[in-house]
Amino acid sequence: MQVHLTVNGEEVSKEIEPRTLLVHFLRDHMGLTGTHWGCDTSNCGTCVVWVDNEPVKSCTHLAAMAGGHEVRTVEGLEVDGELDPVQEGFIQCHGLQCGFCTPGMMMTARALLDRNPDPDEATIREAISGQICRCTGYSTIIRSIQWAASKERETAVAIEGANA
C-alpha cells in the first residue's frame, strides 16, 4: 500500500507493507535511525515519536495509521543547526550515558514542556514513567529536563522584556 505522511515537516510517500510498524518505517524506509527500537512491547519508550504533536510509542503504531498525519522524530528537534533546549539540557546535565533511551526521553520531555513550561519533579517523573533508562540515569535526565524548562522560561522573560 502507499502511505502519505509528513515527517519532520517534509511530505513523504512510500510503498509499504500494511503491517509495517512506524518505528521500522522511520528507521528502515526513511533512514531516520535516531528513533530507537527497543523492547518492541511498548514498555521501554525509546521509540517514542510524535504523531500530531502527541508522543506515541512507534513500535505499537502502524505506519499506515500515521498516513495523513504529521510525525516528528528526534531528528526534528534541531532546527537550522540550533539544538532544542531539551537537547542542550541533556548535554549540560549529562542526561545520557549509553544514549539508547535518549531519543524517546527527549521527545517525551519536549511534549511535556510544550504543555507545562514549569513542571515540578514529580510531574517530570510521571511524564517519563513510560520510558526506561537501563543505565538508571533518571536523576540526570530529570535535571536535564529542568535545565531546559528553566532556560525556556528565562528566554520567554527576556522576549517579554524586549517587547515591553
Binding site: D40, L62, T108
Partner: protein
C-alpha cells in the same frame, strides 16, 4: 523482531462505513483504534486478522464524554488520557481517575482507548472492572442497528466479548445516581504494569445506609468482574469496618486466581479481600462527603 502477520489495511470514514467493511470482509476483520491491545496480540500471533479496519479518523463520532443528569455516555474511541483528565468525570465518578492513573503510562494513555480496553476482554484489564462496578452498559452497533448489553454480559470469557462478527462497540453508558461515589485500588509490580490484583467499588448512599453497591475485581479469575453476593450483602447495610471485612471476605471467597510471575494465588486472594475493603471504604467516604476527595 516482532511484527504482525500480513494483513490488508482499510480506513473507515464513518461508523456505518466501518460496519459495512466488517460485514464485507467477514470474520477475519478486526477494528484497530489505539492498537495497544491488538498489535501486541498480533505480534505474539495470538491474533492474526486478515483485515485491519482503522477507526482513528472517527473521533467526531466516537470520541466524547457526555454527561447528562441521569447518565454518562462515553464514546468507544475516547482515549485513556481524556478519561484521566476529565474533571467533570472525576467529580461524579472518581473511580475513572483512580484507575487511569495506574493504567499503563502517559504515552500509552495518549493512544489507548476505552473501547479497545473493553474489547480486549483481558481478565486483568482495569477498565472492565471499573465499568462493571459502575453498572455500565455497552452499545454494540451492527448492520441491523444497535443493541445494548450490560457490562456484566459483555465479557463472555477471557478475550471473548458479546460483540459478534460484523459488529463494533460504539459507546459505554453509565447510569448516574444521586448520593453515589466510587473508588479503585490496584496493586502492580511496577508503575504501569498489569494488575497483580485490583478492585473497584461504587456505592449509592441513602442517608447513612448503602442503598446499592457493586464491586468489580480484576486479575483474580478467568472472567470474574462483578461479584453478585457482594451487592446483596451491601444492599441496605450500614457502613462499618465489620461490613467491609465481611464483603472483602466474599470477594476473596469468589476469587480463583492462578499463581504466576505476578504472585501466588494466596497473595492475590489476599489482595482481592484487602483491595475490596479499601475501595469500598473510600467510595463510601466520598459518597458521604459528596465529593471525589
Amino acid at each position: 523482531m516482532q511484527v504482525p502477520a500480513p494483513f490488508e489495511y482499510e480506513r473507515a470514514t464513518s461508523v456505518d462505513h466501518a460496519i459495512e467493511l466488517l460485514n464485507r470482509l467477514g470474520s477475519e476483520a478486526r477494528i484497530i483504534a489505539g492498537g495497544h491491545s491488538l498489535l501486541p496480540m498480533m505480534k505474539l500471533r495470538m491474533a492474526a486478522p486478515e483485515y485491519i479496519i482503522d477507526i482513528n479518523d472517527l473521533s467526531d463520532q466516537l470520541e466524547y464524554i457526555n454527561i447528562s443528569d441521569d447518565e454518562v455516555r462515553i464514546g468507544a474511541l475516547t482515549r485513556h488520557q481524556q478519561l484521566l483528565e476529565s474533571d467533570e468525570l472525576a467529580a461524579i465518578m472518581p473511580i475513572f481517575r483512580d484507575a487511569e492513573k495506574v493504567i499503563a503510562d502517559p504515552v500509552v494513555r495518549n493512544k489507548g482507548t476505552l473501547g479497545g480496553s473493553l474489547c480486549q476482554a483481558d481478565p486483568s484489564e482495569d477498565l472492565s472492572a471499573v465499568c462493571d462496578a459502575l453498572d455500565a452498559s455497552c452499545v454494540i452497533k451492527g448492520p441491523d442497528g444497535e443493541r445494548v448489553v450490560a457490562m456484566h454480559d459483555f465479557h463472555v470469557g477471557p478475550y471473548e466479548t458479546a460483540v459478534a462478527d460484523g459488529e463494533m462497540l460504539t459507546e459505554v453508558r453509565i447510569p448516574r445516581r444521586s448520593g453515589s461515589s466510587s473508588a479503585y485500588h490496584k496493586v502492580e509490580r511496577r508503575a504501569g504494569d498489569w494488575a497483580v490484583a485490583s478492585a473497584g467499588a461504587a456505592v449509592t448512599m441513602d442517608g447513612d445506609v448503602i442503598a446499592d453497591g457493586r464491586v468489580g475485581l480484576c486479575a483474580v479469575g478467568p472472567n470474574l468482574t462483578n461479584v453478585e453476593p457482594i451487592s446483596q450483602a451491601l444492599r441496605g447495610a450500614t457502613p462499618s469496618e465489620e461490613l467491609y471485612a465481611q464483603v472483602g471476605q466474599i470477594a476473596a471467597d469468589n476469587a480463583s486466581p492462578n499463581t504466576d510471575t505476578r504472585g501466588t494465588a494466596a497473595y492475590k486472594t489476599h489482595l482481592a479481600k484487602e483491595l475490596t475493603v479499601r475501595s469500598l471504604r473510600k467510595a463510601v467516604e466520598r459518597a458521604t462527603n459528596g465529593g471525589a476527595a
